[in-house]
């Protein structure tokens, strides 16, 4: 399975090079161990590539271009900026929203953090998440945050599926994919273990806050970290396997707590933190795809391909993130 994936990746790298104009020989030189398997496939690709190089007739292109230009001219001018926050970059939107949240108060924070993609408050929820990420200095802190945000996306997909809102479910799935890729990229290193960056950063000010808010809410977060009680109750029932996964997580947490009690060093603390993140990812790797599968059972026809896609995204995303720890 792993070998298949490795070969799929190599094949794709070669294809990309061929599409950019490289020769088959150049690709084979890069992967001498796989040359025998690659060569016939790449020759087929060259043939397919040549055969698909079909050009539109010039007279059709002229006619289509003329029609397109006429259609542009008939369009009403769009409002400049085209939105509620015209021409502002996302980071400014995020910071503005964050300041607004501080001014307006915790009631809005609570309401926004439970907002679903079809809610007017959803933009504030997204902006708040961006601010938290920006305020989290370490890779492991960011990975923990992304893990929690991914939970939210799964809940949003399930709720949007229940409501039959295809576009919103798709949008949440796209976000889920990006967040899982972010987790995987934050945990990967050349030798496959957590990054040096993750191991070397530490300090009390960011000690386990986001993760511990999820799995051990009795621990008080340090004041400089983002708010921890951000996850509003979401009306999605997680599958029965949660208990089983939770038991595994509890065991991991219990072990790490014991170690802390006997006076673990800061390095140990960081390692424990990684262990806890890994345990959380293992738990989510089971329950989030299952929550999506459960939603698929009752989903409408139009929603099925989105949910199937989300299940694939979750399955592979968590697997990759967990594998990067090994």
């Amino acid at each position: 399975m792993k070998k298949d994936r490795e070969f799929d990746n190599i094949l794709d790298e070669c294809l990309e090079k061929i599409l950019q104009g490289n020769t088959v020989e150049e690709c084979l030189r890069d992967y001498p161990d796989h040359a025998a398997a690659l060569e016939p496939m790449l020759r087929t690709v060259m043939k397919a590539r040549a055969a698909t190089d079909i050009r539109p007739r010039p007279e059709f292109k002229d006619r289509a271009r003329h029609q397109f230009q006429s259609a542009i001219r008939e369009m009403e001018p769009a409002p400049a900026g085209g939105g509620f926050f015209p021409r502002f970059k996302p980071v400014w939107i995020a910071l503005t929203a964050f300041i607004a949240i501080l001014i307006i108060g915790s009631g809005t924070v609570y309401a926004a953090t439970g907002a679903l993609p079809d809610s007017p408050l959803y933009g504030i929820k997204m902006a708040t998440e961006s601010v938290w990420l920006a305020l989290t200095p370490t890779d492991i802190g960011k990975a923990e945050l992304y893990t929690r945000f991914a939970d939210r996306r799964v809940d949003e997909i399930v709720r949007m599926a229940e409501l039959g809102k295809v576009e919103y479910a798709q949008e949440a799935t796209e976000k889920l994919e990006r967040q899982l890729v972010a987790i995987a990229s934050l945990t990967i290193t050349e030798n496959g273990s957590p990054s040096e960056n993750m191991l070397s950063f530490g300090g009390a000010e960011e000690d386990s806050t986001p993760l511990m808010a999820t799995i051990a809410p009795t621990i008080t977060p340090a004041p400089t970290t983002p708010p921890t009680e951000d996850v509003a109750p979401v009306p999605v029932t997680r599958p029965d396997t949660t208990e089983k996964a939770q038991a595994g997580l509890d065991a991991a947490l219990s072990a790490s707590d014991s170690e802390r009690n006997v006076g673990a060093s800061e390095d140990d603390e960081e390692l424990n933190r990684e262990e806890r993140l890994k345990a959380l990812l293992l738990q989510r790797a089971i329950e989030n795809p299952e929550a999506l599968m459960k939603a698929l059972e009752t989903a409408s026809e139009s929603m099925r391909d989105i949910l199937e896609w989300a299940i694939e995204v979750a399955g592979e995303g968590y697997e990759e993130a967990i594998n990067n720890f090994k």
Binding site: G81, I306, W309
Partner: protein
């Protein structure tokens, strides 16, 4: 990517230059994708025009998500191809248009191209629908794996596996003239 993001922003404001640039960059690829999918030049021409007119109607609601604009256009094209087959209650073999290889000045080259396209068309028809889609988007549309994954709403890993299987099948079909 930064340039495209800025161009898309201007296009959303109905800037004629930005819209024209996006059109010119993607027109041939969208046509190529559609013509390979349906095998009928006249229909492919109409549908290609329609993809861009539909895109123009929806451009204001387009949201930049870090993916190339072409992925969005291919999603529109994909939906139109699906509608096309739904309307026509798809048959397993689509006759290849006689004039599909036109567009070349040299008649000898045109005949040669027609044969290549015919062989490719015959071979791809024996692939599964998902494999056909990957090959069309990857080779005709020139999309990356990430973009194909977005258009087909599948994971990148799944697209790579489909691509691998499709190439193996194509090789067998094209070398023997029979199915896999």
């Amino acid at each position: 990517m930064q340039d495209e993001q800025s161009r898309v922003r201007r296009a959303k404001e109905h800037d004629q230059i930005a819209l024209t640039q996006l059109y010119e960059e993607n027109f041939d690829k969208i046509y190529r994708y559609i013509v390979l999918k349906i095998g009928d030049r006249a229909e492919a021409e109409d549908m290609t025009q329609q993809v861009f007119l539909n895109a123009l109607k929806s451009i204001s609601s387009y949201k930049w998500k870090g993916m190339p604009f072409s992925a969005w256009l291919f999603r529109i094209a994909h939906n139109q191809v699906v509608d096309h087959y739904r309307r026509k209650s798809r048959s397993t073999t689509v006759p290849l248009d006689e004039n599909i290889a036109s567009g070349y000045d040299n008649p000898g080259r045109e005949a040669e191209r027609k044969m290549e396209i015919e062989e490719m068309n015959r071979a791809t028809k024996q692939l599964t629908n998902a494999q056909q889609e990957v090959i069309s988007l990857r080779f005709a549309g020139e999309l990356s794996i990430a973009e194909v994954a977005r258009v087909m709403r599948k994971s990148e890993g799944a697209i790579k596996a489909l691509q691998h299987a499709a190439i193996i099948s194509l090789r067998k079909i094209m070398s023997t003239g029979t199915g896999p």
